[in-house]
Symmetry: C2
Subunit: 191 residues, 2 copies
DNA sequence: GTCTATAGTGGGATAGAC
DNA sequence: GTCTATCCCACTATAGAC
């Protein structure tokens, strides 16, 4: 059994996925976690504090299921594709994560406080991916014309765009995966 | 001088770009438009009604500046690139549009009422782009391997992702344009 | 650390005059 | 069609007991 603060964070993460960052009500979190609202204020100071900690919590959790892609294969191209595909899955915690991430991005447009958290996480993601593309390029000389950094930025941006369409019901999960695979092929193609 | 409802919609569009859909206060809109809050309820029934009409208003307006890309050149590839680049500009009304569009997408994840509006507009955008890619393919036989529909969906999704990064200050406007140009090249490349 | 009870308030919505 | 005035509720946040 996790400790109280963690239980509250888990409840908050679930609710962000259902209602969004902006729709998150402290009272709802307390009900979902089975505690009083006062306890939330005791542990997290105010709504903003709860929000920040929840976003960090979700971010830490995301790394876990993405990293599993590395055990799947030694081929950097396969790893790359898997990492991107794993951002969109029908599992509850992955959906939670994508939804929260989308909310963070959307909220950061109007809330400068969140921008640093967003920028840092985005940079790490881009750099990780650029590293994999770099390795894929070394393994296959035909790819020498690929700009690893730019390709990485385009792929992550595309995944974010596709993710939002998936979450909003505009695009099916299957189609989303096809689009991502197609994008990897288009980017990692001899010039 | 536009009529009152239009003035209100213009004010609401400006405010959505500044505060977001969720941050939109009816009272603020009334102040910005120089009318009473009661008048807004008279014309739009409630806050949701105002929101819907504003989103539609913004959508109609967006078509105008994008369509100007067709006068620029007869080359479908140039038109295609221009259409995408024009989604991200430093002009106030374009920024307003991108911000509102981003908010619509993000909000639709949690608000089924907005999904239809979003899905229709997205489909039209994709189809327009797919048409251009189709024409580019006919003009250049080397592109015969390109799946116009899929490429269009990937490009629009990428533009949405890049747009969000631009608006949230994660990526500069210049870099955003580079990424879009690069994506067009990656997609419209002989197989 | 955790609760119950309640204060405070921002902002959506309406009544009624003109 | 448009305004002034006001109601009222949903939410955040705190006080104080245990």
């Amino acid at each position: 059994m996790p400790d109280r603060p963690t239980q509250i964070l888990e409840a908050a993460a679930r609710l962000i996925a259902r209602r969004g960052v902006r729709g998150l009500r402290v009272e709802e979190v307390s009900a979902e976690a089975g505690v009083s609202t006062a306890l939330i204020y005791y542990h997290f100071k105010d709504r903003t504090g709860l929000l920040r900690r929840t976003l960090e919590f979700i971010n830490r959790r995301a790394v876990r299921y993405t990293d599993a892609a590395f055990d799947l294969s030694d081929d950097p191209r396969t790893q790359l594709t898997e990492i991107l595909l794993r951002e969109l899955q029908d599992a509850p915690d992955v959906r939670e994560n994508s939804a929260a991430w989308g909310e963070l991005r959307a909220t950061a447009v109007f809330d400068p406080d969140l921008r640093e958290l967003l920028a840092t996480a985005t940079r790490e993601w881009n750099d990780d991916l650029a590293g994999l593309i770099h390795r894929a390029r070394e393994a296959d000389p035909a790819l020498s014309g690929v700009d690893a950094q730019a390709a990485a930025e385009r792929l992550t941006a595309l995944v974010e765009g596709v993710s939002e369409r998936w979450l909003s019901g505009t695009t099916s999960l299957q189609r989303a995966h096809e689009l991502i695979r197609g994008a990897v092929e288009a980017e990692l193609r001899p010039a």
